[in-house]
């Protein structure tokens, strides 16, 4: 069917041939078919039916065609006008977009700097408000003391051992053996044989001065050395401390006052310095705190601290010497002399200093 075949309007050649009658029947029929529905072509053919219009028609149509081709077809100058607007819009759009991108980058930079500055400020505030460093050694000392096996090996295991379980570990048996050797010097050799070889290695360390030493008579050198070897300072449990402290303190209080010379306090920091290289433990802390109290003039507290060390550990002799100095400075010279005499009569490392202090007091 012809209804689905698109029929265009008449072109120049078709109009010319239609007027000249040079069309085929089919082509003429299609043109007339188109003329039914196209008023433009119908009026155009009606106009061109007059021969007077043909000449002007050809002339004007040629000129108009040239005008259109010049105006709309490939002209390079004319299209600049309509192209200006899109180009300007495109430039504005790109400018806006670049501005938005830069603004966004600036924003994120500022946010990053603000967060960084805030974080640094908070860190500084946190460091300022941190607890003072003077309290930290206490914790580290406790932390070092807390593990049971380690404290037992080192031999200075004293203050914070209250939390240590005793039933689950084999150490209490070993510790009990040491404890028995110290209380009964006669059994020291037997207990010494029962000790593991690790303890014998501990004997060679300098802090051999044990609290058991002053209990022995000076003449009994064999027993004293055996006890010194058998009872290294570390092997004490909290129960031992609790039991020993009440026993030892009355002895110190009941000791008779004797006149003795006191030694200078300048000698005191030397042993502390020598011990500084060793790991901190309870005795170190107690000794240092006692020295601090002594330097600050709080002799009563210093004496109390020294008293805790006077019967045991490597600081026993030094503690008793410093306690005598405290008594001397406090005004109780009789007590100070008596303690210095005891130290001078003993064979300890502080013998010469005690003698000097005694001579100075006299």
């Amino acid at each position: 069917m012809r209804i689905f075949t698109p029929v265009r309007c008449l072109n120049r050649d078709q109009i010319k041939r239609y007027h000249l009658g040079q069309m085929t029947d089919v082509e003429q029929h299609l043109v007339e078919h188109h003329l039914i529905e196209c008023d433009l072509c119908h009026d155009a053919l009606q106009t061109l039916e007059h021969p007077s219009n043909l000449q002007s028609y050809q002339q004007l149509s040629t000129q108009l065609s040239q005008y259109i081709q010049k105006e709309y077809a490939t002209s390079a100058a004319v299209p600049q006008r309509p192209l200006k607007a899109p180009v300007a819009k495109l430039q504005k759009h790109t400018e806006r977009r670049s501005f938005a991108d830069s603004a966004q980058s600036y924003f994120w930079t500022v946010v990053f700097l603000a967060f960084g500055g805030g974080g640094i400020y908070l860190l500084q505030q946190h460091l300022k408000n941190r607890p003072p460093l003077s309290t930290l050694p206490l914790r580290t000392a406790d932390a070092l003391v807390l593990p049971a096996p380690r404290g037992a090996e080192v031999g200075d295991f004293q203050p914070a051992v209250v939390t240590q379980p005793q039933a689950t570990q084999p150490e209490p048996i070993l510790i009990q053996a040491k404890y028995s050797t110290r209380d009964t010097p006669g059994n020291a050799t037997a207990a010494l044989n029962a000790l593991p070889p690790a303890d014998t290695a501990q004997k060679k360390k300098p802090p051999v001065k044990d609290s058991a030493v002053p209990k022995l008579p000076p003449a009994d050198t064999n027993a004293r050395s055996a006890v010194a070897q058998a009872a290294p300072p570390p092997a004490e449990t909290p129960k031992e401390q609790q039991k020993e402290q009440p026993k030892e303190e009355p002895k110190e209080e009941k000791a008779p006052e004797k006149t003795r010379a006191a030694a200078d306090n300048e000698n005191e920091p030397a042993p502390a310095k020598s011990e500084a290289n060793k790991p901190a433990n309870g005795d170190d802390y107690v000794f240092r705190s006692a020295m601090q109290y002594q330097q600050q003039g709080d002799y009563n507290e210093a004496i109390n601290q020294y008293r805790r060390l006077s019967d045991r550990g490597k600081y026993a002799e030094r503690a008793r010497y410093n306690m005598a100095i405290c008594y001397r400075d406090k005004g109780q010279k009789g007590k100070a002399r008596r303690m210095l005499k005891d130290i001078a009569n003993s064979e300890g490392a502080m013998k010469s200093q005690a003698q000097e202090a005694l001579s100075a007091m006299n």
């Binding site: 012809r2 008023d39 155009a44 028609y57 108009l64 259109i68 105006e71 309509p82």
Partner: protein, 146 residues
């Protein structure tokens, strides 16, 4: 480029002009109907309406209207010329039902199913015509067809 545009149909040229604002497409379309424009305008040209003024102005009007045109260009051009010379259209144009039918015929394109459906509807409509009209249509379409 211009030769390639001349091979395109009116619908494709209009589409390119609307979508891409191709001035050349509009130029090809106006050039295609320029001779008809001259022929239609010839009766109205006189001293007050010289060809040097009327034809470029009508061309410019057509160019402005092409951006919003979605129908047939020949009808648009004819309506623009009639409006320019203050004339009224003959018969007031097609009826809406005929326009709808024409648009359906154009949209059917190469779809055979749609074409068969339209052919069936047309045959039914032709069957309802009076014998005289049926004879006239039969003579016009069938006897002159190759």
């Amino acid at each position: 480029m211009h030769l390639q545009l001349n091979n395109l149909s009116d619908r494709e040229l209009l589409l390119r002009f609307r979508k891409f604002r191709e001035r050349e497409a509009a130029g090809a379309l106006l050039d295609r109907y320029s001779h008809l424009l001259v022929a239609v305008c010839l009766p109205g040209l006189d001293a007050q309406h010289p060809a040097e003024t009327v034809l470029p102005e009508l061309t410019h009007r057509m160019y402005e209207q092409l951006s919003g045109a979605n129908g047939k260009v020949n009808e648009l051009l004819y309506g623009t010329v009639q409006q320019y010379f203050g004339r009224t259209r003959k018969g007031g144009g097609y009826q809406p039902a005929i326009r709808e039918l024409e648009s359906r015929v154009e949209l059917s394109g190469n779809n055979p199913i749609e074409k068969m459906a339209l052919a069936g509807k047309l045959e039914q409509a032709l069957g309802r015509l009076i014998p005289e009209d049926m004879y006239l249509l039969g003579e016009f379409y069938r006897n002159t067809s190759p």
